[in-house]
């Protein structure tokens, strides 16, 4: 197997005296869909926030490896925007779109870190800037087509349906050209039909060469999508493996169902 694109070693995050994450290891290889599951409050979102630079980890190492250039970067203490530039993008558990901007503009914002024009370009609109602007629009439109929102480009993001907003968030993250995409509960609050569209979308994205790490509570979705699953409980990693291995792991069953159940 090729080298891991994300390597997390002994990641720990303390809030005051509480260990929200306790020595968690995790790795993702190119082309994989990996799920991070666990009961509510297990520390999954905190884990995401550490990876993406919103929190600074207390201990441990996070290393990102660009699969094409092979460049390795240690992410600890990096600013969120720098991390995104390295090729890892995310969505949020409670949708964080730019509500009064249009659907297209939301995706165009995602192109920000791959484009350059500043004051000079904005004011004088030199050919390079114009080309860049066209490229931004074209790419964003293509992405919207991919996530199925190209008919609503001019709609304000807040007017979209719940499922569409989640897809727009994915589209916006894709616009940053990540090789690793982190999805925080992408199916939360979706109806079965929307979930189905989402599964197809995630598969497609993966096929196009993006690796995916997702947090999800919908077990059907997790089991059918993931190549591997990591399970967290009380901040610790309690199991990892293929869906089958995890399903039959006694520690996992105990975490989800409580002490007294016979496995």
């Amino acid at each position: 197997m090729s080298k891991a694109i994300l390597n997390v070693k002994g990641l720990t995050k303390n809030f005051g005296g509480i260990k929200a994450i306790d020595k968690v290891d995790l790795d993702i290889h190119p082309g994989e869909i990996v799920a991070l599951i666990g009961p509510n409050g297990a520390g999954k979102t905190t884990f995401f926030n550490c990876l993406t630079g919103i929190y600074t980890p207390s201990e441990g190492d996070i290393t990102l490896r660009n699969p094409e250039s092979g460049k390795e970067t240690r992410l600890n203490g990096m600013k969120p925007n720098k991390i995104t530039e390295q090729g890892m993008a995310r969505t949020f558990q409670n949708i964080r779109l730019f509500p009064t901007m249009s659907v297209l503009e939301n995706v165009m914002i995602g192109r920000h870190c791959r484009t350059k024009a500043l004051i000079f370009g904005a004011v004088f609109r030199n050919p390079a800037t114009r080309r860049e602007e066209e490229e931004i629009i074209a790419t964003s439109y293509d992405i919207l087509k991919k996530v199925g929102l190209h008919k609503q480009v001019d709609e304000e993001a807040r007017n979209l349906s719940y499922g569409a907003q989640r897809r727009l968030e994915i589209g916006r993250a894709l616009a940053t050209e990540p090789f690793l995409l982190l999805l925080d509960e992408p199916a939360a609050g979706m109806n079965p039909k929307e979930t189905e569209t989402l599964v197809t979308l995630i598969r497609e994205i993966c096929k196009e060469g993006h690796s995916i790490l997702l947090i999800e509570h919908d077990m059907k979705l997790v089991m059918s999508l993931s190549d591997r699953i990591f399970v967290m409980d009380y901040g610790k990693k309690i199991a990892q493996g293929t869906p089958e291995e995890v399903r039959s792991n006694p520690a996992v069953i105990k975490a989800y169902l409580g002490e007294d159940v016979d496995a």
């Binding site: 993406t52 630079g53 919103i54 600013k79 969120p80 925007n81 995104t84 530039e85 993008a89 995310r90 949020f92 964080r96 779109l97 730019f98 509500p99 009064t100 901007m101 249009s102 297209l104 503009e105 165009m108 914002i109 995602g110 192109r111 920000h112 870190c113 791959r114 484009t115 024009a117 500043l118 004051i119 370009g121 904005a122 004011v123 609109r125 800037t129 860049e132 602007e133 066209e134 490229e135 931004i136 629009i137 074209a138 790419t139 439109y141 293509d142 480009v153 001019d154 304000e156 916006r172 993250a173 616009a175 940053t176 050209e177």
Partner: protein
């Protein structure tokens, strides 16, 4: 037509206001002569006035409610008239041209005095547009904007005094000084959250003013610097009147340039990032936008414009002193932005013209004009908090079925 219950309510309101204003409005003491003047007539005016106003406000609200109900029934909300004009190029362009022609011939038909006032108003248009980048677009509440204005004005005054530099030489320097100061201040404070930023910028504005007031060796203190030369025109000597007209045209040119630049900025990669930053900072960072850098650009650009106008201000009045750069000035510029409609260029222009020209032409009520200014701000916010003209959403034209490969970084 008007319910008795409401009349009773208005009556109670008038009694309340009569009570409320009693000590300040009715009693006037002279502590030296030790006499008391009871001005009962004032109490009557207040009671009567508040009675009438409360009825009018109620009628307005009832009508608004009824209209809102009808609108819901009709379901399609008609786009406001102004919005429609702004959206349609075939209305917008001729209209802009007409306004431009009007602006150009203005000094020929109006007195020097009127031209001077118009110059002031247009300077505030530019100040408003500059602050609009900071507050309206990027959402950074700057309450000390006047500090940058002061930097520009004093740059010209001092550089002229000590080194004899002329207006045109200082114009860019003043702007750059202000922008530099913006970066200097912005760097540590821009990471503060909104309200803290507001108070720090306010404090900063006051610091600058106090320094100008107290550091006599540097700024000549409260008495200020006089005899600042007006801008020259290839070394020509100009009469007072033509000097005024000349500055008027300089400011008109500046307004045009500013509108052009601000419009382009808003519709650029940078402008989008500002808007996004206003809406959600965390999401912005997660999308790879450098929060500090983007904010800093907005902040110092705004400062640059203020510095620019500051130089013109010094040249126009030929005199600067710290009293021109109080917090009230910042408040007025901010009010222009908010009153006009945050982020909307046309709105800011309207806001500046209304707020600056109104008090000038209200001189009949001279002493009441600041009272009216404050009152109108409150009333405007209560009845139209989005400002006069809200921003027109941009829609992008693009080639459909355009399927270029994603450019690799």
């Amino acid at each position: 037509m008007f319910p008795v219950k409401e009349l009773k309510r208005s009556f109670l309101i008038s009694i309340w206001f009569a009570f409320l204003t009693f000590p300040i409005m009715v009693i006037k003491v002279d502590p030296i002569e030790r006499t008391v003047l009871w001005r009962w007539d004032n109490m009557f005016f207040i009671a009567f006035g508040s009675f009438v106003i409360s009825i009018l406000a109620k009628v307005y609200l009832l009508r608004k409610e009824r209209r809102a109900g009808r609108k819901k029934a009709k379901k399609d909300i008609a786009e406001p008239f102004v919005q429609r004009i702004l959206r349609e190029p075939r209305f917008l362009y001729p209209l802009s041209l007409a306004v431009l022609v009007l602006a150009l011939v203005f000094p020929m038909f109006f007195s020097t005095y009127q031209t001077n006032i118009m110059t002031t108003a247009l300077m505030y248009v530019v100040l408003g547009l500059g602050l609009n980048i900071v507050v309206g677009v990027a959402g950074l509440l700057d309450l000390g904007y006047v500090a940058f204005y002061a930097v520009g004005a004093y740059s010209y005054a001092l550089l002229n005094l000590h080194f004899g530099l002329g207006f045109w030489a200082v114009l860019p320097i003043g702007g750059l000084f202000a922008a530099f100061l913006g970066v200097l201040l912005g760097f540590p404070v821009l990471r503060l959250r909104g309200d803290y930023l507001a108070i720090v910028t306010l404090g900063f504005g006051e610091i600058i003013r106090l320094i100008l007031e107290n550091w006599n060796d540097f700024s000549q203190g409260p008495s200020g610097i006089a005899n600042i030369p007006r801008p020259g025109f290839f070394g020509m000597d100009m009469s007072f009147a033509s000097g005024i007209t000349y500055i008027y045209y300089i400011v008109v040119a500046l307004v045009i340039i500013t509108i052009f630049v601000v419009n382009r900025l808003q519709n650029s990669r940078l402008g989008r990032a500002w808007l996004a930053l206003r809406e959600d900072e965390i999401a912005c960072q997660a999308m790879g936008i450098d929060k500090t850098k983007t904010k800093l650009i907005a902040f110092s650009l705004g400062a640059f414009w203020a510095g620019f106008v500051g130089v013109i201000f010094a040249a126009k009045t030929t005199f600067v002193n710290p009293a021109s750069f109080t917090f009230l000035e910042s408040a007025i510029i901010l009010s222009i932005v908010v009153l006009g409609g945050m982020g909307s260029i046309v709105g800011v222009i309207f806001g500046a013209l209304i707020l600056i020209l109104m008090p000038e032409y209200l001189r009949a009520l001279s002493e009441y004009r600041m009272l009216a200014f404050g009152g109108i701000l409150v009333v405007m916010m209560v009845f139209k908090p989005d400002g006069i003209i809200s921003n027109v959403r941009r829609s992008y034209r693009f080639k459909k079925h355009h399927s270029k490969e994603v450019i690799e970084p």
